[in-house]
C-alpha cells in the first residue's frame, strides 16, 4: 500500500475564461491532517473537487489512495468522506434520517447512532434539518461524511461562518478523526484553525502551491518568530530598517511598517534608536508572535481575507 493518500502532479483546471488551478503539485501522507490555505478564489475548492472525483482535471496526474478516478471511481467513493462548502440537506429530514440515508449508500460503514454521538448531535437526533443551527448543520454534514467509515476525509471550509464555540466543537471532531488514523484534508482561510489542526499545510495562491510545510516550519522559515508593527510620522529608509539587528524582512502596509524578526528584545531597542536618529515621532508600536497570516502576507503582500 502506498504511503501517500494523495499524489497530485501538474494539476491544471481551466475554464473558458479562467484558470482555477495552474500546475499544482501536492502530496498528502496517510494519517496526517493536511490543510490547504489561501484566500477566496485561490483554487482550493476546485483542487478539492478534482481530488474528490467531482471535476475532471484539464491536465495533470491525480492519484487518491493509490488509485485513479478513471478506473477506480466506485472503489474510491466507498473510501472517501466529503463535506462540500455549500450543501444544504433536505429541510424536513431529521438528523437520524439524513445519516441513515447516507449510511445506506455504503456497503460497509459505521453505526448511525454512534456517528451522531461522535458529532454530539444526540439531542437533535429527531430534529428537522431546518431547525438546526449553522454549527449543528455543519456537524451533521461531517456525520454524513463519516458514516461510510472513510479512510480519507475531505472537509471544504468546515468552519466558515460559524461562531467560536461551534468552531471549537468541530475542531474536536476533526482531532478525533485524526486520532482514529484517518487522513483528513481540509481547506480554510482561518489561520488559527490550520495551526491548530493541521500537521502540514500548503499555502495556495492563484492556483499554485506557494509554500508547504508544518505550520511552525513555515512561520519560522518565511517570517521569523515575531512581528513588530509600528507607525511613525516620518519618511523612513526601508534599507536602514532592514539592516537593524535580527530583522528578516520589512513590509509596508497602509503607511505602517511590519518587521519580521527573530528576537524582539534585540530589534526593538535598535528600532527606537533608529527612529530617534531620524527624528521620527512613534505613533504606535506592537509586537506579536508570527502566524500563518504573516506567512501569507510575506509571500504575497496581501492579507488572506482581503
Amino acid at each position: 500500500m502506498s504511503e501517500l493518500a494523495i499524489r497530485c502532479r501538474g494539476l491544471v483546471k481551466a475554464y473558458d475564461d479562467v484558470v482555477a488551478v495552474d500546475g499544482l503539485d501536492l502530496e498528502v501522507r496517510r494519517g496526517e491532517c493536511f490543510g490547504l490555505l489561501g484566500p477566496n478564489g485561490a483554487g482550493k475548492t476546485t483542487t478539492l473537487e478534482v481530488l474528490e472525483g467531482l471535476l475532471a482535471p484539464t491536465r495533470g496526474e491525480v492519484e487518491v489512495l493509490g488509485r485513479r478516478w478513471a478506473d477506480g471511481a466506485a472503489w474510491l467513493r466507498q473510501r472517501l468522506g466529503i463535506t462540500l462548502q455549500e450543501t444544504r440537506l433536505s429541510d424536513k429530514q431529521t438528523v437520524r434520517e439524513a445519516v441513515s440515508l447516507f449510511r445506506s449508500f455504503y456497503p460497509r460503514g459505521r453505526d448511525v447512532d454512534e456517528v451522531i454521538g461522535l458529532v454530539s448531535l444526540e439531542e437533535k437526533r429527531d430534529a428537522w434539518y431546518e431547525k438546526l443551527s449553522g454549527g449543528q448543520k455543519q456537524r451533521l454534514a461531517v456525520a454524513c461524511a463519516l458514516v461510510g467509515d472513510p479512510e480519507l476525509l475531505f472537509l471544504d471550509e468546515p468552519t466558515t461562518g460559524l461562531d467560536p464555540q461551534s468552531r471549537r466543537q468541530l475542531w474536536e471532531v476533526v482531532a478525533a478523526m485524526k486520532a482514529e488514523g484517518r487522513t483528513v484534508v481540509l481547506t480554510t482561510h482561518y489561520m488559527d484553525e490550520a495551526e491548530r489542526l493541521c500537521d502540514r499545510v500548503a499555502v495556495v495562491d492563484h492556483g499554485k502551491v506557494i509554500a508547504l510545510g508544518t505550520p511552525r516550519e513555515l512561520i519560522e522559515r518565511v517570517v521569523g518568530h515575531e512581528v513588530v508593527e509600528f507607525q511613525a510620522a516620518a519618511a523612513l529608509d526601508e534599507a536602514r530598517l532592514a539592516a537593524l539587528p535580527g530583522v528578516r524582512a520589512v513590509h509596508r502596509r497602509n503607511g505602517a511598517f511590519a518587521l519580521t524578526v527573530d528576537r524582539v528584545h534585540r530589534t526593538v531597542p535598535a528600532l527606537l534608536g533608529e527612529l530617534d536618529g531620524a527624528g521620527a515621532r512613534l505613533d504606535r508600536l506592537s509586537t506579536h508572535s508570527a502566524t500563518l497570516e504573516d506567512v501569507f502576507v510575506a509571500l504575497t503582500g496581501r492579507r488572506l481575507r482581503d
Binding site: 467531482l54 467513493r77 455549500e86 429530514q93 440515508l101 453505526d111 461510510g148
Partner: protein, 345 residues
C-alpha cells in the same frame, strides 16, 4: 462498525415519501386542490331541474287568457305594456314577447337558445289550450342518470391533470431544487447508484397513483355518485402508464435546469397547453379541426380520453390500446432523453 447494508433504494424511496408528506403545500396541491375543484365545478355545473320559459304578453284583448294558459302549463309569464315587454326581451329578462291577436305574433331572438325554445313552448301550449289535437300520439322517456352529467366528465379529467402535475412538479421541481442546493452533487460523491436515485422518484409516482385514484374517484362517488362503468384494473393500469409518461417528462425538464425558477417556467410551458387543450374541463372537440391532430398527440389528451373511455363509456383494452401505446412510447422517449442529458452537478 456495522456491515448491515440497508437497501439504499428503500431508504431513498422512504425519504421521498417522508419529504412529500411533510410539505403541506405538496399534499394540498396533490390531494386537496383537485377535491376542491371537483366540488366547486360539480356544484356550479350540477344538473338543475328544467327551468320554465318566461313569456311577456302584451296588454290587450286575449292577454289574460294567454297568461292563464302559460301559467297553467307550468311556465312563467306576465302581462306588460308592449314597450315594456319589448324592453324586457332586449335585456334578457324575458325569453319571448307574445302579441295576442290574429295573427298571434311572437317576437324573439333566434340566436338565443332560451328564446327559440320559449317561442316553441309558448306556441305549443297556447295551441293546445285553444283545442289543437295532435295527429300522432307520443310517449316520452326522460334520461337523467349518473354517467352523463358534467361532473362525470370532469372527474376523469381531474385525475389526468393530477397525474400530470404531480409528475412534473414532484419530479422536475424536486430534482432541480436538490441540484440547486448542491445536495445532488453531495449525493453523487457517495457510492449511491445514480439509477436508484432516479428510480426512487419513479417508484414514488407509481405508489401515489394508488392514493390519487381512491381519493379522487372515492370522492366523486361519495359526493356525486360518479360511477366507473369499465374495469377498475384497466383504469389503474392507464393511470400507471400515464404516471410513467409524466415522470419521464418531469425528468426531462429537470435534466439541465440549474434553479427552480427555470424549471418552474419549463413546467408551466409544458403543462399550460395541455391544461387548456387536452379536454380537462370541456371536450377537446370544441377546438378547430386544424388543431385536432396536434391535440390528439398530447399525452394528457391520450390519458384523459383513455380514462373517460373506461370510466364513462365502460370500454375495454382494445378501445384504449392506441392511447396507451402513445403514452408508453412517450415515456420511453422522455426517459431515454432525460438520462442522456441529465446533469448531476
Amino acid at each position: 462498525m456495522t456491515d448491515r447494508a440497508p437497501s439504499s433504494l428503500v431508504e431513498l424511496t422512504l425519504t421521498r415519501i417522508r419529504l412529500f408528506f411533510r410539505e403541506p403545500s405538496a399534499v394540498f396541491w396533490t390531494f386537496g386542490f383537485p377535491l376542491l375543484l371537483s366540488v366547486a365545478l360539480g356544484v356550479a355545473f350540477r344538473n338543475r331541474p328544467p327551468q320554465p320559459v318566461v313569456a311577456a304578453i302584451a296588454a290587450g284583448p286575449g292577454a289574460e287568457e294567454a297568461l292563464r294558459a302559460v301559467v297553467a302549463a307550468g311556465q312563467k309569464g306576465a302581462v306588460l305594456p308592449v314597450a315594456a315587454a319589448r324592453a324586457a326581451l332586449r335585456t334578457g329578462k324575458t325569453d319571448v314577447v307574445v302579441l295576442p291577436g290574429s295573427p298571434r305574433t311572437y317576437e324573439y331572438d333566434p340566436t338565443r337558445e332560451d328564446s327559440r325554445l320559449a317561442r316553441l313552448v309558448v306556441d305549443d301550449l297556447l295551441q293546445r289550450a285553444e283545442g289543437r289535437r295532435d295527429p300522432t300520439a307520443v310517449a316520452e322517456v326522460t334520461v337523467t342518470e349518473p354517467g352523463s352529467r358534467y361532473v362525470d366528465f370532469l372527474i376523469p379529467g381531474l385525475l389526468g391533470v393530477n397525474i400530470m402535475s404531480a409528475g412534473m412538479w414532484g419530479i422536475g421541481y424536486v430534482i432541480v431544487e436538490t441540484r440547486q442546493k448542491k445536495l445532488l452533487k453531495r449525493l453523487v460523491a457517495t457510492p449511491m447508484r445514480r439509477s436508484e436515485y432516479l428510480l426512487s422518484f419513479v417508484i414514488l409516482r407509481l405508489l401515489f397513483v394508488f392514493l390519487e385514484i381512491p381519493v379522487l374517484l372515492g370522492f366523486g362517488w361519495l359526493a356525486f355518485s360518479v360511477p366507473v362503468h369499465g374495469s377498475l384494473a384497466l383504469l389503474v393500469a392507464i393511470s400507471l402508464v400515464g404516471a410513467l409518461c409524466f415522470a419521464g417528462m418531469g425528468l426531462l425538464v429537470a435534466c439541465r435546469a440549474q434553479n427552480v425558477q427555470t424549471v418552474g417556467g419549463l413546467i408551466n410551458l409544458v403543462m399550460m397547453p395541455m391544461f387548456l387543450l387536452s379536454g380537462v374541463f370541456f371536450s377537446a372537440s370544441h377546438f378547430p379541426d386544424l388543431l385536432q391532430p396536434f391535440i390528439r398527440v398530447l399525452p394528457l389528451t391520450a390519458l384523459n380520453d383513455a380514462l373517460r373511455l373506461v370510466m364513462n363509456e365502460g370500454l375495454g383494452l382494445a378501445a384504449v390500446g392506441p392511447r396507451l401505446l402513445l403514452l408508453a412510447g412517450l415515456a420511453i422517449v422522455t426517459f431515454a432523453a432525460a438520462l442522456r442529458w441529465f446533469r448531476w452537478s
